[in-house]
């Protein structure tokens, strides 16, 4: 196999992986603060993808532009979900929370299935097939753009959590729930805010994803699992970890597609997950609990 081809596929895989990482980042942020695993994460991404597809189909809006209103929409959805559904469950046992979100996920997948049907849909922008030449490599333009955007959004989020007062307050909640209550932070509001931010991120990722893959209602659960795999590999709650996990998964998918069957790609991701859970359960960049 020519080295050019392998390198091209590897670079494409890494670029796609950065978008995967952004998607998983939403999950990581939510778990890091609220300590609830969003079992409906991939389904929320699919909702965002369909919103982008509808916006493109109806008004010809590029997903890279529609992702801003979509992120706002998903923020509202996430905020509402946390306020209405999850806040009453904060002190319930883990499996209860899990089942709650699994129920939400089932409703979302099948709601989408009833509205949009099972067929695959995508967005064909006029630059969809353009590529950028880098030395001997030909890289898809959309992959470069979405990867750069994923990095920019992650950097922005990092700045928000490190610099802004709200971001610091959210981190305070994550570090010490009781302490945050004692100093008078409105923890419930901050939790909802965090769930909203995590949802907005996955919304942006979902809009971008329409440029990279075909969307069907059933990819929701697949991406939920994908997000878990990425976040656990990188380390739950670690922002650089999510990106690193995404890149690893993107790379392993691309390579397994090249060397084995494309349909076997999830197997490699899951195999990496099992290895990480066994030998470094806190994740590659996670802190020891």
């Amino acid at each position: 196999m020519p080295a050019d081809l392998i390198l091209t596929v590897a670079v494409q895989g890494i670029l796609t992986g950065l978008v995967y990482g952004l998607m998983a980042l939403g999950l990581s942020v939510i778990f890091g603060v609220v300590r609830v695993v969003n079992f409906a994460h991939g389904e929320m991404m699919t909702i965002a993808s369909y919103a982008a597809i509808v916006a493109f189909g109806a008004w010809n809006i590029d997903p890279l532009i529609s992702m801003i209103p979509i992120a706002v929409l998903l923020f509202a959805l996430g905020y509402a979900m946390q306020t209405v559904l999850i806040n009453p469950f904060i002190n319930r046992p883990e499996h209860s929370q899990f089942i709650l979100l699994a129920a939400v996920a089932i409703i979302m997948v099948n709601g989408l299935l009833i509205i949009f049907g099972p067929d695959a849909r995508n967005v064909l922008v006029d630059y969809a097939l353009d590529s950028i030449e880098v030395g001997p490599l030909l890289i898809d333009k959309v992959r470069v753009i979405t990867a750069v955007l994923a990095l920019v959004i992650t950097a922005g989020l990092f700045a928000f959590f490190k610099l802004s007062r709200t971001g610091k307050a959210i981190r305070a909640c994550a570090d010490n729930h009781l302490g945050a209550l004692v100093v008078g932070l409105n923890v419930k509001h901050l939790y909802a805010l965090t769930f909203g931010i995590g949802s907005a991120i996955v919304g942006a990722a979902g809009a971008m994803m329409t440029l990279l893959i075909d969307t069907t209602p059933n990819i929701g659960p697949v991406f939920t699992l994908q997000a878990f795999v990425i976040v656990i590999i990188g380390g739950l709650g670690s922002m650089p970890g999510a990106l690193l996990g995404g890149v690893l998964i993107g790379l392993s998918e691309a390579m397994s597609g090249l060397f084995f069957a494309p349909s076997a790609k999830t197997m490699f991701g899951v195999a990496i997950l099992i290895l990480v859970l066994l030998f470094r359960p806190q994740g590659l960049l996670g802190r020891k609990a």
């Binding site: 695993v37 559904l85 009453p88 319930r92 883990e94 499996h95 209860s96 899990f98 089942i99 709650l100 699994a102 129920a103 939400v104 996920a105 089932i106 409703i107 997948v109 099948n110 709601g111 299935l113 009833i114 099972p118 209602p217 659960p221 699992l225 878990f228 795999v229 656990i232 069957a261 349909s263 076997a264 999830t266 197997m267 899951v270 195999a271 997950l273 099992i274 859970l277 066994l278 359960p281």
Partner: protein, 333 residues
């Protein structure tokens, strides 16, 4: 042993259980094929839910990948039958052993390395997905193309080879479900049942008391996965076709656990009640949709989703615990 099984169960509960069993025994004489197929589905979910309940309800380990054990059991028995002519009554033991081995691997990896809670649930999903994709490429059983058993002769009931009419399947499944119910009651009233209870409620305290937590959890996984394999074997011989993407799917895992969750996790009768309620409601809904002319895919699962949401929000212990209190049937079933 009988005394131990009956300890603390009021007479009225026994009478009600006897009535239900009598009803189920004579039901095939009165109902048509459609209702019979629904009853088979009910029993299937009741039995499989009971098996899952051993792990989650009794020992407190949330498995969201139980389709793994259904699938392994189904494929093992089916492949032995088709490739080597080994009948289901012999094959079922091998199927149970293979499923148990898989369960023990998952359990060993998780419990040895201290993976609990959410991570454990994710690990179970991961193993089920891993196996699903593996079977998609496992050509000995025809990969993603699906594996088929020779179609049953409905005129002759060949119990030895599990080829026959739905009525035969119904009675076999009823027998299995009743045995599983008694077996679970026996487990719960024994030493291991109390150990599980302690581990579920307060693992650290249990350990302090000298309970070997690792061993008890492994026993729970082994029993649960072995029992689940049996429903896989039944599935294979009843439906005669197996597809990895269906039998190992995450949806299937979730469908299996709906019954016990809606009925009442950890109770003995909960999974059975849950299976009845859920299947009956889903069929009624299906009929209404067909009558209205909406045959949309996804409506049934959407409905399951709402049921789950409502139960988990307002009846966190399921519908059986409040019901048994109202019927004054004690706390032991």
């Amino acid at each position: 042993m009988i005394a131990r099984l009956l300890d603390g169960v009021p007479k009225r509960a026994l009478i009600l259980l006897g009535l239900l069993l009598a009803f189920l025994l004579v039901a095939p004489l009165f109902v048509g094929n459609y209702i019979l197929s629904v009853l088979i589905l009910v029993l299937y979910f009741a039995y499989t839910g009971q098996a899952w309940n051993v792990m989650m309800g009794f020992a407190g380990q949330l498995s969201l990948g139980h389709s793994l054990y259904v699938g392994l059991g189904a494929y093992t028995a089916a492949a032995l039958y088709v490739h080597f002519g080994i009948g289901p009554w012999a094959g079922v033991w091998i199927a149970i052993l293979i499923s148990m081995a898989a369960g023990l691997v998952v359990g060993f990896l998780a419990f040895r390395f201290g993976i609990g809670g959410v991570y454990f649930a994710l690990l179970t999903i991961a193993f089920a997905e891993f196996t699903r994709v593996g079977f998609d490429h496992f050509m000995w059983v025809n990969g993603s193309g699906g594996f088929f058993l020779p179609v049953a002769q409905y005129s002759v009931n060949d119990v030895l080879n599990l080829r026959g009419s739905p009525t035969m399947f119904y009675y076999i499944l009823l027998g299995i479900t009743v045995l599983a119910f008694i077996f679970c009651r026996w487990l719960l009233t024994g030493r291991i049942g109390y150990y599980w209870l302690a581990i579920r409620e307060e693992p650290e305290a249990a350990q302090t008391l000298g309970i070997n937590i690792f061993r008890c959890k492994m026993i729970a996984v082994a029993i649960s996965s072995g029992m689940t394999a049996l429903s896989g074997v039944f599935f294979a011989f009843y439906y005669n076709n197996l597809f990895p993407e269906q039998i190992f799917s995450m949806n299937r895992s979730i469908e299996l656990i709906l019954g016990p969750i809606i009925g009442g996790v950890g109770s003995l009768f909960g999974p059975i009640l849950g299976a009845f309620v859920l299947t009956a409601l889903a069929e009624v809904l299906n009929d209404i949709m067909v009558a209205l002319g909406y045959e949309l895919p996804g409506v049934k699962l959407l409905f399951y989703g709402f049921c789950l949401l409502i139960v988990v929000m307002w009846l966190p212990n399921g519908i059986w615990p409040p019901l048994r209190k109202w019927l004054r049937l004690g706390e032991r079933l």
